[in-house]
């Protein structure tokens, strides 16, 4: 399978609009899938995946690897994931800096680790092993955390940096998560963003959130908020052009609404990352 690089702005492939997407002539640069929805499975979902693979590069964004957890990494999971990644023909795999199971019991949530050196080393060791065994570049996402875990001794940015550098992994920067965490913690979102190791960013995620009572919830069920768009532009000024994903998983609107979000992201990337005129002239001359 030919490896097709990912660039530009993609959207998450969801069964609800898969067929409509295949009929659409609007711009979609790449697709993201949740691999657990396809691993070891056939049927209509697989048929859709194969049809989409013919048209777009597809990357897998895992949610159940339990990278930060205490249990041994599951061989059946990794084997099945490896098969799917080979089928997709990509070069990167993304997951989360979190855990989701303890003692064989799965919580099906992205749970926050304590920000300690021990936890950073623990998750980094496992991440390095996964990266090598899958033979893919590994990007790890900063998660939404609704509680700061006891014993945390490091700022989040330092914890993430330690884990990523030791794992040889890149940062999947979820800008909405930065915003939601900052709001829930009562800190400035821009300062929170700039405290992250942005130089390690290899991909950016954008999503919507809701405010329920006193809490901001990262539910991927709304348009990207204006404040998050601004934060995105600020992030791009540090990271330069990297692949961007629009995540919309709940309360799905018509497909065109999601593609409008992708268009907006593309316009912001173009505006923020456009080379200065002199550089553009040199490129044209060359």
């Amino acid at each position: 399978m030919r490896r097709r690089p990912v660039a530009g702005v993609g959207i998450g492939l969801r069964a609800e609009f898969g067929q409509e997407l295949l009929q659409s002539d609007r711009t979609v640069d790449w697709l993201e899938i949740v691999p657990e929805n396809f691993m070891g499975r056939g049927g209509a979902g697989r048929r859709l995946l194969h049809a989409c693979r013919e048209r777009w590069p597809i990357r897998a964004h895992g949610v159940a690897l339990n990278l930060g957890g205490p249990d041994p990494l599951r061989e059946d999971y990794l084997e099945s994931l490896g098969d799917l990644l080979a089928e997709l023909g990509g070069d990167t795999f993304t997951e989360h800096l979190s855990y989701s199971a303890i003692g064989g019991r799965y919580y099906h949530d992205l749970l926050p680790l304590p920000f300690t050196r021990e936890a950073a080393e623990h998750v980094a060791g496992r991440a390095a092993w996964v990266r090598e065994s899958l033979g893919h570049e590994l990007l790890l996402e900063n998660i939404t955390a609704y509680a700061r875990m006891p014993g945390s001794e490091l700022p989040e940015g330092r914890f993430i940096e330690l884990a990523l550098r030791e794992a040889g992994a890149g940062l999947l920067l979820d800008v909405n998560n930065v915003y939601v965490n900052a709001r829930n913690q009562g800190v400035d979102p821009l300062a929170a963003l700039e405290a992250l190791p942005l130089e390690l960013t290899r991909q950016i995620h954008l999503a919507g959130h809701h405010r329920v009572k006193q809490r901001w919830l990262d539910d991927h069920g709304a348009p990207v908020a204006d404040e998050v768009w601004r934060l995105f532009a600020a992030a791009l000024s540090h990271t330069g052009p990297v692949p961007v994903l629009i995540e919309w998983d709940n309360y799905l609107p018509p497909l065109d609404r999601i593609l409008d979000e992708a268009d907006r992201a593309r316009a912001i990337v173009a505006a923020v990352c456009a080379p200065p005129p002199a550089e553009r002239a040199r490129e044209l001359w060359a």
């Binding site: 657990e36 691993m39 070891g40 499975r41 056939g42 049927g43 209509a44 979902g45 697989r46 048929r47 159940a64 690897l65 339990n66 957890g69 205490p70 599951r74 999971y77 855990y99 199971a101 303890i102 003692g103 064989g104 019991r105 799965y106 919580y107 099906h108 949530d109 749970l111 304590p114 300690t116 021990e118 936890a119 623990h122 609704y146 509680a147 700061r148 875990m149 006891p150 014993g151 809490r215």
Partner: protein
């Protein structure tokens, strides 16, 4: 607190028990978010996997929806042990039978209905492919015997005429598409058993199923996508 101690404490907390005394702890209100999310996840998932079972629970006794209580009890009893959250669904049928054995008042054939929905799900996502030109029998096939009471919840399975006991239902997937069902006739059952090598033609003839009837039945099963051309 070491990472091992942290995970021990977090496991207790996520199962709804108090964070162990001593040492630092997260604010209860914040941890509640994860505890509540974990408690919500099981019933939400069951509802997606078993919409007919859920509806049967809601309709059986007007004014009393049994589902929330059943789904919560099941989720508490069967924590997820697999990275695929859907895998929990495999245990619902047995759970309902156990509830029944304990004397719980449940809609008739609720266990069969859960089994029917679970098998439909498994067939829908099965990775096996069927090449009718090369294979004798569609691997995405499940033949089950259900109580006729299941017709109360899945009336589409109703046959013409009297309902035999048990009610045989053949579930199968066509290609990579939808899951369908067939109420097989005796000749179709015979043709299927013959194709699967479960019986020989002599035994079928002893039961009055002879060549022409079996060939006709096999042709119909092939048209439906249950048998391949190689049969």
């Amino acid at each position: 607190m070491t990472l091992d101690r942290f995970f021990e404490a977090a496991a207790l907390c996520l199962d709804g028990r108090p964070w162990p005394a001593g040492g630092a702890r997260p604010a209860d209100q914040d941890m509640d978010f994860y505890v509540e999310a974990a408690a919500r996840e099981g019933p939400r998932l069951l509802e997606e996997l078993f919409p007919l079972t859920r509806r049967a629970c809601a309709r059986w006794r007007p004014g009393r929806d049994l589902w929330p209580e059943l789904a919560s009890a099941f989720s508490r009893a069967h924590g997820s042990r697999h990275w695929d959250p859907n895998a929990r669904g495999s245990e619902l049928c047995a759970f309902l039978r156990a509830q029944w054995a304990r004397g719980a008042e449940l809609p008739p054939a609720l266990d069969d209905l859960a089994d029917y929905e679970w098998r439909c799900h498994l067939l829908a996502v099965s990775p096996a492919a069927f090449d009718p030109a090369r294979e004798r029998v569609n691997p995405n096939l499940s033949l089950q015997a259900y109580s006729p009471s299941i017709l109360e919840w899945v009336p589409a399975l109703a046959p013409c005429g009297a309902v035999p006991f048990p009610l045989l239902v053949c579930l199968f997937r066509v290609g990579e598409g939808e899951v369908r069902w067939l109420r097989p006739s005796p000749a179709e059952l015979g043709a299927l058993a013959l194709a699967r090598g479960e019986i020989d033609a002599g035994a079928l003839a002893d039961n009055g199923l002879t060549g022409p009837a079996l060939r006709e039945a096999a042709g119909r099963l092939a048209e439906l996508g249950i048998l391949g051309a190689a049969q």
